[in-house]
């Protein structure tokens, strides 16, 4: 019998704690596969953030450092300055990166740190129970905006990738999604490009991955994928926002 699909050796044997239908596990797998395929697994150093993915170090088969809320890019900077030739990445959610960690993500790009950030955007605080994030969509219902996000009260959602893409030190920025098999394949390509950009010494790379939170959104896993496609992609358009070729 031929094995056509198996656990990546970039992942540990642990079962994840993620809710059914959450796409964190899938995104972990993409990162793991890319690290294996680029032969970076042995040298890679990851920085986990605070949020649902805080435990990503339990699932990714690489040395990892847990960072305080929002500070993973600063922690990764410290790591990279000790190991300039090793692959260093952060894995952060939108509460962590787009809210409390905005200074760190802007300045890691500003310095052109040769690290790769996997930015998982599910438009909500998942781990703390579904509060509003800077990425929460207009009128999206969350526990701290029970009638839906009122943009007159708290502004329009933050488009992080567009913001980062215009920083000179950012070499590769792409927004992808994982709502369909086609999107997943594109997401993996983008993550691969991010690490290639880093190892090529071009500068900072950020891959924003639109992700689901069925529990926080109050939707089934399948409906969540549809909701992502119908609601998130129009506001957060997919595509390459910056690449070394254009820089």
């Amino acid at each position: 019998m031929t094995v056509i699909y198996a656990r990546s050796k970039g992942l540990t044997d642990k079962d994840t704690h993620y809710c059914p239908g959450c796409t964190h596990g899938l995104i972990h797998r993409l990162v793991a596969e890319v690290l294996v395929e680029l032969d970076l697994l042995n040298d890679a150093i990851g920085c986990a953030s605070v949020g649902c993915s805080v435990l990503s170090y339990n699932y990714l088969n690489v040395d990892m450092i847990e960072s305080a809320h929002g500070r993973a890019p600063a922690v990764a900077t410290g790591v990279k300055r000790v190991h300039p030739t090793k692959p260093v990445f952060t894995y952060q959610g939108d509460g962590d990166l787009a809210s409390i960690g905005t200074a760190e993500i802007v300045h890691v790009a500003h310095r052109g740190e040769k690290i790769t950030t996997i930015f998982v955007n599910n438009a909500i605080y998942g781990m703390t129970g579904g509060q509003m994030a800077p990425t929460t969509l207009p009128m999206q219902k969350v526990t701290t905006a029970p009638e839906g996000r009122d943009v007159a009260h708290c502004g329009m959602p933050l488009r992080v990738s567009e913001m980062i893409a215009q920083i000179p030190g950012a070499a590769y920025v792409e927004r992808v999604s994982v709502h369909s098999p086609k999107a997943v394949r594109q997401a993996k390509k983008a993550i691969r490009n991010g690490f290639l950009c880093q190892m090529g010494g071009f500068g900072f790379s950020l891959i924003e991955v639109l992700s689901t939170c069925p529990t926080g959104w109050g939707l089934s896993p399948v409906d969540s994928l549809q909701w992502l496609e119908d609601n998130m992609i129009p506001y957060y358009p997919l595509g390459v926002l910056r690449s070394p070729e254009e820089a």
């Binding site: 920085c47 990892m64 305080a68 600063a74 900077t77 200074a103």
Partner: protein, 352 residues
């Protein structure tokens, strides 16, 4: 090396290089800027890495990352900047990451002033960060002593897997004194098998973390930390005594203030008033033992600080009610002069 006239801040920076510091991450703040400026100039020649961070929050977390990945990092700041770093210090202590943090204290609270102060005693010994943790805190009172403490700090940080504070102040940082850096003593350092450096396919992944959701696990981790703190207290507590034998009153002061207190004691001696000094060289662990077995002659303790009274709490705990403990302090960036301390002593002894 012969004696060189150096600013306190610069001597700390040079001693950091000599002590084996590999990385500096920091954010500008007065009155400590000579430290990053010195290292920005010197590190490129000596193979070290200097990086200016976007904030104190980022700086302390860069230290965290560098320490977790095997560097010998440091940062320096001054009081309000140290306050911003407290989150990181709690994490560094929890993750048991070796590093050195310099605080060149200035007057507070708030933005306060850039003038010297010792109002960060609580920050340096009680922490502003969350949780049960302690940080080994050295308090030099001369430029020379600061350099020596700094040279030893990086090895101590690795031996105990802990952040180490060098508690200076705006006066010590800005003043110039002759310094002679000693040769670095070689110390056996524990292997760092816990680093996040890439597993090389040869071992299970290492994780540097502080999250412990299981209360049984976290309590045990806290007990292990406490046991380590007890070992540090047993081996690293330091203080210096001056003219305590036969003293009627013993002053307690650290850092710059201790120098002024010594001058006050000498002034008093000229007036046949016998006063002594206990000078804590470590703020945590506090030298409790220095207050056990005080001379029979001693009637009271006077704590002198450039604050409204912070270390005096620890002095009272150490004295434990055996003697009255008085306090004299100036704050807001005002440096007390020997005469006013001497006047306070005379007043306390009823010889005014």
């Amino acid at each position: 090396m012969s004696k060189t006239l150096m600013k306190g801040n610069e001597a700390l920076a040079l001693a950091a290089i000599k002590g084996g510091c590999t990385h500096f991450f920091g954010y500008p703040i007065t009155p400590q800027n000579e430290i990053p400026e010195f290292l920005a100039r010197e590190f490129p020649r000596t193979g070290g890495v200097f990086l200016q961070a976007e904030s104190e929050l980022a700086a302390i977390n860069m230290v965290y990352g560098a320490a977790a990945a095997g560097g010998r990092p440091m940062t320096s700041s001054s009081s309000p900047g140290i306050a911003l770093m407290q989150e990181g210090m709690s994490s560094l202590a929890a993750a048991e990451l070796p590093c050195v943090i310099v605080n060149v204290q200035r007057g507070g609270p708030g933005i306060g002033t850039i003038q010297p102060s010792q109002a960060d005693y609580y920050q340096m010994t009680r922490g502003g960060g969350n949780g049960d943790y302690r940080i080994l805190s050295f308090a030099p009172s001369t430029v020379q002593e600061g350099a020596e403490m700094m040279m030893a700090a990086f090895d101590l940080a690795e031996i105990y897997r802990t952040p180490v504070f060098i508690v200076s102040d705006g006066m010590l940082g800005q003043m110039m004194e002759p310094v002679e850096l000693p040769e670095k003593t070689h110390r056996e350092l524990p292997a760092k098998d816990w680093l996040a450096v890439g597993h090389g396919g040869k071992r299970k992944p290492n994780t540097v973390k502080t999250l412990a959701l299981d209360p049984i696990v976290l309590e045990q981790r806290n007990l292990d930390l406490q046991a380590k703190y007890a070992r540090i207290a047993a081996a690293e507590t330091r203080w210096e005594s001056y003219r305590t034998e036969g003293a009627e009153i013993i002053l307690c002061a650290y850092g710059s203030t201790a120098r002024i207190a010594r001058n006050a004691i000498d002034l008093l001696a000229a007036e046949k008033i016998t006063a002594g000094l206990i000078r804590p060289q470590t703020l945590w662990p506090f030298p409790v033992a220095a207050f056990e077995g005080l001379p029979e002659s001693c009637r009271m303790i006077l704590t002198v600080e450039m604050s409204c009274g912070q270390m005096v709490d620890d002095v009272r705990l150490a004295v434990n009610g055996r003697l009255p403990v008085a306090f004299y302090g100036r704050s807001g960036g005002i440096i007390p002069v020997p005469e006013e301390i001497a006047a306070k002593v005379k007043n306390l002894l009823g010889r005014a």
